[in-house]
């Protein structure tokens, strides 16, 4: 009898309790993986040619060259940073009324639906795709990037602000309402004190995201450090590209730590 007992313990399955379903799922996964790996078409000769370039890139990363393209890099950085700040400020300014309009407990149903659809459109379109269109309309340069980031900021801040307003403590709003306050007074004395710390935190977080995104949308022509990086890679100047990437990583790290510090300080 004792030989019947297993010597090691195994956790019984939790989600799919039927053995047949588990086997079907595993076989399906296996078939998918075979098909998916079959669809990768790798030109190994090209890869081996490129490995030398990869090595140069790693070398460029280890010995970055900040100096020889410093004018282009600083120009790109200034564009990126100014673009980040202006788009965050304008984006937050626009998204506050939209966020209030998208809160179910504050506005009538038609306003709610309009504001929520603005948020949905802004969130579902990707920055890069928006940037392509805006570059086509407004011409190359940081202005198109500014508009792209503003557009993306609206969806992000307005959604989180609206969700926040919907989750406020209703008793405080009720108390203000009981004093006979108008809608604007309600907003000012009941809603604003409750959501303000979080709104500041979200804006700082978005500032951080906007800087990261500004490095990407430059690739499609919207100015900033991304354009400089794209040029450096196109010229095969990996040491300059490595320098730009290191600067981006450093700024993101600084922004992340200081924004999390500021948020802790404000809350």
């Amino acid at each position: 009898m004792s030989s019947q007992y297993p010597t090691t313990w195994r956790r019984p399955p939790q989600v799919l309790t039927d053995r047949r379903w588990r086997i079907a799922l595993q076989v399906g996964l296996l078939i998918y993986l075979v098909l998916a790996f079959g669809s990768i078409d790798v030109n190994w000769q090209r890869v081996s040619e490129g490995l030398e370039r990869g090595q140069r890139f790693v070398m460029g990363f280890l010995q970055p060259d900040f100096m020889s393209r410093w004018r282009d890099i600083s120009q790109g950085l200034i564009e990126s940073l100014t673009m980040t700040l202006t788009s965050s400020v304008v984006g937050v300014m626009i998204s506050v009324p939209i966020g209030i309009g998208a809160a179910r407990n504050l506005v009538p149903r038609p306003v709610y639906l309009v504001c929520r659809s603005i948020v949905a459109v802004s969130r579902s379109l990707q920055e890069v795709i928006v940037a392509i269109f805006l570059v086509a309309m407004f011409g190359f340069g940081p202005f198109a990037g500014f508009l792209t980031l503003t557009f993306a900021t609206i969806g992000f801040i307005a959604k989180l602000l609206a969700d926040d307003i919907e989750e406020i403590d209703e008793t405080q709003a009720e108390a203000i309402r009981a004093t006979g306050a108008s809608w604007f007074q309600l907003l000012n004395y009941a809603i604003q004190p409750q959501v303000m710390p979080r709104l500041v935190g979200l804006s700082l977080y978005r500032l951080d995201i906007n800087f990261r995104e500004s490095a990407v949308i430059g690739i499609v022509g919207a100015g900033g450090i991304g354009a400089t990086l794209n040029t450096a890679i196109d010229r095969y100047e990996y040491d300059s590209a490595g320098a730009i990437l290191l600067i981006v990583i450093a700024i993101v790290m600084v922004a992340e730590y200081s924004s999390s510090y500021l948020r802790k300080f404000l809350q």
């Binding site: 790996f37 090209r46 202006t86 095969y236 790290m253 992340e256």
Partner: protein, 270 residues
């Protein structure tokens, strides 16, 4: 009675000094904004900006009606896009697990040497967008799906690694203590103490990241890394805006479906 003169007649939320400080802070922000705006728009050609509504109308007119006959041609790139996202996620998770074990304070073998290295890997991967990784990889290993998959995987390491190491740090030490008390070795503590606790989090994070990766992989083709973005780039290069409409709608549909799938799976797991 003597200190009644120091009590202000009217109640206010903040003292005078904090009010002044807050006011100065806002003033500084406005000044900074105006300065940044001037620096940014120095090189802007305003003629193009004022011309934008006309351009928008022009492009909008060309985008409609969508050329639906182009849709069957997009199925192969769409399959490629799904593969980039899925295989990239798998690769990213496989690479992220050891990194997060090194980064978590309670599982790392050395706090002084290995933990900072792992944290740097996580930050570096998080701060460089997958499009930039793809741009680099396309010049290194050539255009195609492989560059896209590796780009997605490298980008996913940071995201999965960060969330996973936080989950590992939040594990219940009592359970690990109990396993250790049975005389288990480090590997056994990991498999019986840590892994069962973080497994649901790992699945949730992976599915969440897969959903984001579907979004990101649709545009990787713009720099040559395969998938539906390649078609988008080609259609825009020949100014076939009616095809662009079809591609954008297909991308939108894919994103919505993937978001729905990930929401369903996460609800089932958590």
């Amino acid at each position: 009675m003597s200190n009644s003169s120091t009590i202000p007649a009217e109640w206010s939320h903040r003292s005078r000094v904090t009010r002044l400080a807050i006011w100065a802070g806002w003033l500084a922000l406005v000044a900074l904004f105006v300065w940044c705006w001037q620096v940014m728009t120095e090189t802007t050609i305003w003629a193009f900006v004022w011309d934008a509504p006309r351009q928008a109308g022009d492009i909008g007119g060309r985008m409609l009606p969508p050329e639906w006959s182009y849709l069957p041609e997009l199925m192969q790139p769409l399959w490629d896009t799904l593969n980039i996202a899925t295989l990239g996620t798998v690769g990213g998770v496989v690479l992220a697990v050891p990194v997060s074990l090194l980064a978590a304070r309670n599982t790392t073998p050395s706090v002084v040497v290995l933990r900072p290295v792992a944290l740097f890997i996580i930050v570096a991967s998080r701060s460089i967008n997958s499009l930039i990784w793809a741009l680099l990889l396309v010049t290194i290993i050539g255009p195609g799906l492989l560059a896209g998959i590796i780009a997605i995987a490298l980008r996913s390491i940071g995201f999965v690694g960060k969330l996973l190491y936080e989950a590992i740090e939040e594990t219940d030490p009592k359970q690990i203590e109990a396993i250790r008390a049975t005389g288990a070795g480090p590997a056994q503590v990991l498999t019986y103490g840590v892994v069962p606790q973080v497994m649901p989090a790992l699945w949730g994070i992976s599915v969440f990241r897969w959903d984001i990766n579907i979004r990101e992989s649709t545009i990787l083709g713009l720099v040559g890394a395969g998938g539906i973005g390649l078609k988008l780039n080609a259609s825009m290069a020949v100014l076939a805006w009616d095809q662009v409409t079809v591609i954008l709608l297909l991308i939108l549909a894919t994103v919505v479906v993937s978001e729905w799938i990930s929401a369903v799976i996460r609800r089932a797991i958590i």
